[in-house]
């Protein structure tokens, strides 16, 4: 387990040498135990990193000289859903902080800061490495928008509208659980971790983009806290009121119903992945969370899970 304590304690320099599989193992190691919100907040204070410390100079060389046009297109296409996804999860999170215990609110302040930092990470990557034009964060987002799939609005528009719903009553337990299912279980626990595995494995195997690798691996370690918070929240909510399990189910039914629409072909093969492998990766990510947290699914949702389609975005 030395690798996992390395994951927990590395600074940015050390993160560069971590393997994404160890970081994913670190996400799941604590899911059975589920640390409390104060423990997660303390961990945040130790693990916080400075996004302006990342050095993209080798990435610029790799991007221009090492990678093929096909690889660049695939990479931009897959990362655009994350660039916009980070922004979306950042701006939709403050409303969730308005409810819950004081410990939850304190922890939430750290996740809001994480998501803002992740947005800056992608802003820097698109600006400095990909060379997207724009003076402001919004202008760079607008420049990368054409690469975002039409189906992005499914899960991320849903989150925006659920945040609006929550704003009407931030303490409504059912609305919080529905929102938490979309945000922590699906967007973070399934979509984000899958894209991290795909793009980081590519960087590591090809030896490309060390700045991106470092920042995105650090982002993945932050994701461990986010997913553990989220699963703790869902588990505690259902333990307190078992009827809330139905809210998780209803939300999953909607998410899985909209998952089947694919509007663009994803050039996964140029990053070394087949659609079938991505499907299996997503299903595994979902199962690991559900099993560890003890969320049982009725047969109709199990059928929908078995038919999950590759979907590349995250936050």
């Amino acid at each position: 387990m030395t690798e996992l304590s390395n994951v927990a304690d590395s600074d940015l320099r050390g993160i560069r040498d971590l393997d994404i599989d160890d970081v994913l193992a670190y996400v799941h190691r604590d899911l059975k135990r589920l640390p409390d919100y104060t423990e997660l907040y303390k961990r945040y204070l130790r693990q916080r990193w400075d996004v302006y410390e990342l050095d993209f100079s080798q990435d610029i060389v790799d991007w221009r000289e090492g990678m093929s046009q096909e690889e660049r297109d695939a990479f931009v296409g897959i990362s655009a859903g994350f660039h916009h996804g980070e922004r979306q999860v950042e701006v939709e999170l403050p409303v969730f902080m308005l409810g819950g215990s004081e410990e939850s609110k304190i922890y939430m302040s750290s996740q809001i800061e994480d998501e803002a930092r992740h947005t800056v990470f992608f802003d820097r990557f698109y600006r400095e490495v990909v060379g997207m034009p724009g003076d402001s964060v919004q202008e760079v987002l607008d420049a990368s928008f054409e690469h975002v799939s039409e189906t992005f609005v499914g899960p991320f528009g849903l989150l925006a509208y659920q945040a609006d719903e929550l704003r009407k009553d931030p303490e409504d337990p059912a609305a919080r659980v529905r929102y938490g299912t979309t945000y922590f279980l699906w967007i973070e626990g399934v979509l984000a971790l899958s894209v991290m595995k795909i793009t980081l494995t590519y960087c590591r195997e090809r030896g490309f983009l060390p700045g991106y690798y470092t920042g995105f691996t650090a982002t993945c370690r932050d994701e461990a806290r986010h997913v553990q918070f989220g699963m703790r929240f869902l588990r505690d909510s259902v333990q307190e009121d078992p009827r809330l399990l139905l809210q998780i189910h209803e939300t999953l039914r909607t998410i899985l119903a909209i998952n089947g629409a694919t509007s663009r072909r994803l050039a996964l093969e140029s990053l070394g992945w087949t659609p079938e492998e991505v499907r299996r990766l997503m299903i595994r990510q979902l199962h690991m969370k559900l099993v560890d947290v003890g969320i049982a699914l009725p047969p109709d949702i199990q059928d929908m899970v078995a038919r999950i389609e590759p979907e590349l975005a995250g936050g």
């Binding site: 039409e150 609005v153 909607t254 119903a257 089947g260």
Partner: protein, 136 residues
């Protein structure tokens, strides 16, 4: 044709029934929309926030059977509204999905999960009706 008039509403009804042109996106996307639309029965009210005027589209079994302009959307299943700036952006070719993501268009009333079960059908219908040539 003027925006948010009975004449425009009728053109909007025809446009959503015809659907948008299907180029540029994978067939699986349009197949999903066809399935979402099959048998769809619900009423959407799409409003301009400043004027409080709504276009009410009534879907019956996958066909838009009626379109009307009203200031009272209370009978609609889903009431959405956007500011004039968002409507202008959409009519100038702005992306309807983006209007949802950035909450330029908001769901004021109605079940969020039920609304999202047909989200791409909704987004493409919005695209079809905002592409109609109109003046203010």
């Amino acid at each position: 044709m003027r925006f948010f008039t009975p004449e425009w509403a009728e053109a909007a009804r025809a446009a959503v029934n015809a659907g948008p042109s299907q180029d540029g996106k994978l067939p699986s996307y349009w197949n999903w929309i066809d399935r979402a639309r099959t048998g769809y029965t619900a009423t959407w009210a799409l409003g301009v926030r400043e004027s409080g005027t709504y276009l009410v589209l009534t879907w019956k079994d996958g066909t838009c059977a009626d379109a009307a302009i009203t200031s009272d959307p209370s009978l609609a299943d889903f009431v959405l509204a956007a500011g004039e700036a968002t409507w202008r952006d959409l009519r100038e070719g702005g992306d309807p999905g983006r209007a949802v993501m950035y909450r330029g268009l908001r769901l004021e009333r109605g079940d969020v999960l039920a609304f999202f079960r047909v989200i791409y059908f909704f987004v493409e219908s919005l695209a079809a009706l905002t592409r109609l040539p109109t003046e203010d």
